[in-house]
């Protein structure tokens, strides 16, 4: 029971010897007839024997210094005998990859479970992780990163310097209760749109300003965008999408993808969609800001109505991807408006609004 037929390679010549392996108490004995018919034997001392860890049913062992000698054995009883003969010396380690030696049903089952886990990780684990990372990201670094992104992307637009100055005056008249340096830029674009970058830069398209009729609408828009900044929504999104890219490129075994993403410019990242959850949060927090500033919440209702009439149906247009507006948001705003109290007249705000309105509607 301690004899096994094996193939033996001596490491010097490519000939395959059909040999017999005998398991001796303190060494392995390999004996075979060489081509000239002479009986030859080789002695392997136990400490020098290395198991070749593989995925097949072939048991391979190597011995000695380079070039190593090798034996291959197909006998399924070998592991049992080895365990019996040398209880102190484990020849086979248990490994994760051992499951490949099982049958196909097991492999398929394992694969399915793993796929489920990957799916769960992608849909639930990743957003959580992105949120956690974003929450711990230092503010100064965030501002710096956001400013770099801003510089890169603003080149694609035409900045209206006069309106930008006016809008910044307007913005300063509202207390947004945030430590981020809020800076607003107006760009000459006809679409009714606006977006926020991490660290306090907000870009407003002239198109949306032109369509606004009240200062409350503008205040609502700014409050909403500032909430995105303050609660680090875009940072969360960036980590989320970076994580997603990382995840997918690993899944497709494509390291290049990761390198590409690292080198990629920030444009694509900034134009990401916020989830409905984040939009709702920005709405709620934005309304809180208006409340505490004593500004009429009707601004939100008007803003949503404006966006809705502008973009028509929800979800079908590209621009809506930055602000997925739903009937629900409008309804929610209308509900809250009814509960508003303590509207304060803000003369300063009104003054700046008139300046902007005059510039826009001349």
């Amino acid at each position: 029971m301690y004899n096994f037929s094996v193939r033996y390679h001596d490491g010097r010549l490519s000939i395959a010897h059909d040999a017999t392996l005998t398991l001796m108490p303190d060494h392995w004995l390999i004996h075979y007839r060489d081509p000239s018919g002479e009986l030859t034997s080789v002695r392997w001392t136990l400490p020098g024997i290395v198991t070749d860890e593989n995925f097949s049913h072939l048991f391979i062992f190597r011995f000695g210094e380079f070039p190593q000698q090798t034996i291959e054995c197909k006998d399924g009883n070998l592991p049992e005998s080895l365990k019996k003969r040398y209880p102190e010396r484990p020849f086979f380690k248990r490994r994760v990859t051992d499951i490949f030696k099982l049958n196909n049903t097991t492999i398929a089952g394992v694969a399915f479970t793993v796929l489920m886990l990957i799916g769960l990780g992608y849909w639930f684990g990743l957003p959580w992780l992105a949120g956690a990372v974003a929450a711990r990201f230092p503010t100064s670094a965030e501002i710096k990163m956001g400013d770099t992104m801003y510089e890169n992307m603003i080149r694609a637009y035409e900045v209206d310097d006069q309106l930008t100055a006016k809008l910044n005056d307007f913005t300063k008249a509202i207390d947004f209760k945030t430590n981020y340096p809020i800076r607003v830029t107006v760009v000459t674009e006809n679409d009714a749109n606006a977006f926020a970058l991490p660290g306090g830069n907000i870009v407003v398209f002239e198109g949306i300003l032109r369509k606004m009729k009240t200062k409350e609408e503008l205040a609502a828009l700014l409050a909403h965008e500032v909430s995105h900044v303050h609660y680090r929504h875009s940072l969360r999104n960036i980590f989320r999408s970076l994580g997603g890219y990382l995840f997918l490129s690993l899944l497709l075994n494509d390291i290049n993808g990761i390198v590409t993403i690292l080198a990629d410019n920030s444009n694509a990242l900034a134009n990401l969609t916020y989830s409905r959850e984040l939009e709702t949060e920005a709405d709620t927090k934005g309304m809180d800001v208006l409340q505490s500033n004593g500004i009429r919440l009707q601004g939100f209702v008007d803003l949503f109505a404006l966006l809705q009439s502008e973009h028509g149906d929800v979800g079908s247009l590209k621009l809506l991807s930055t602000h997925p507006l739903t009937e629900e948001r409008l309804r929610a705003a209308e509900m809250i408006v009814r509960g508003q109290k303590g509207v304060v007249a803000n003369r300063e705000l009104e003054k700046y609004w008139q300046v902007i309105a005059a510039a826009e509607h001349k």
Partner: protein, 317 residues
């Protein structure tokens, strides 16, 4: 009839097994935030090698994740360094420094490619064996680097035309320095023939709206394989391709369907099909004494190239 002696490598891999390895690799790579990648690669190569059989014996890949991890870390370090230079230079907002930074970045990459090819060849061949006999690559890094830089510059200056000669030159160099124990190799292709074949392939592919590309691919494969010679002592053994355009079409069309319909999950089955196609279409003709190959290579270990080549994604040779 000694003349008709021919041999082949047979691939016995199974999609299901490869899939298992793939899934575990992906999972561990994810959990370890990418650090498992070298081990994943080692496992994959090990499996592909041990399912490849020649004359009744399987090939072996001796590389380990640990070795490749060292190379992986070096590669990441070099990449990070290059990117730091690039971003650092751009961040200064100084035009001159930015230009210098960009230049350093691209020159760095240009130098990295041949170093990566060289390293990958050295490492991969030294870690490959059959019946205990190791492969080896004896090219000189400096020589290869020079050849590569000169070649790329001429290619650039001739708007890519020299590329055909350049590719052949690289193949010749690599095969000349490739060893399998006492067996040596050579590549007999010629730049001009390769150039005309590519020109013809390109033109006809355009005219036929891509249909000819399968014949072109077949020609490229045949030109690669048919020009390889293997030498055992005085005996030269030619390689022969039996791939057909139809075979190519079937391979590629079905593989694309497999990958797309499964959203990439069935990639392992596509790999198995590709491996089978390649090996079943390569014949080694002539009298080879498979029992008389002697060990000639010494031990070698430096894994930087292995992963660099992977990171830059150049099709190895």
């Amino acid at each position: 009839m000694e003349q008709h002696e021919t041999r082949q490598v047979t691939f016995y891999g199974e999609g299901a097994k490869l899939f298992g390895i793939y899934i575990v690799n992906i999972l561990l790579t994810l959990v370890t935030l990418g650090l498992y990648y070298p081990w994943a690669r080692a496992a994959l190569l090990k499996y592909l090698y041990e399912e490849s059989e020649f004359e009744g014996s399987r090939f072996t890949f001796h590389g380990t994740g640990k070795e490749m991890f060292i190379g992986f870390i070096k590669a990441i370090g070099i990449f990070l360094g290059l990117y730091c230079i690039l971003f650092g230079a751009v961040a200064t907002h100084n035009m001159t420094i930015t230009l210098i930074g960009v230049a350093v970045f691209y020159i760095g990459f240009l130098l990295l490619i041949p170093i990566a090819i060289h390293g990958a060849l050295r490492y991969r061949t030294s870690r490959s064996s059959w019946r205990g006999i190791h492969f080896g690559y004896r090219g000189d890094r400096k020589e290869f680097l020079n050849m590569f830089i000169v070649g790329s510059l001429i290619t650039l200056c001739t708007f890519g035309i020299y590329g055909a000669w350049f590719v052949i030159e690289i193949r010749k160099y690599i095969f000349k320095h490739l060893r399998f124990g006492s067996i040596s190799f050579s590549y007999e292709g010629e730049g001009s023939a390769f150039f005309w074949m590519n020109l013809k392939g390109y033109m006809l592919t355009l005219i036929t709206f891509g249909i000819y590309s399968f014949w072109w691919a077949k020609d490229l494969f045949a030109y690669y394989v048919n020009n390889i010679r293997m030498y055992q002592g005085e005996t030269a053994l030619p390689f022969r391709s039996t791939a057909t355009a139809g075979g190519y079409f079937k391979l590629i069309a079905v593989n694309i369907l497999i990958i797309i319909l499964s959203l990439g999950l069935a990639t392992p089955w596509a790999i198995v099909r590709a491996m089978q196609f390649v090996f079943s279409n390569i014949h080694i003709d002539g009298p080879l004494d498979v029992n008389a190959i002697t060990q000639t290579e010494a031990d070698y270990s430096d894994a930087t190239g292995e992963d660099l080549a992977d990171m830059i994604d150049i099709g190895l040779v």
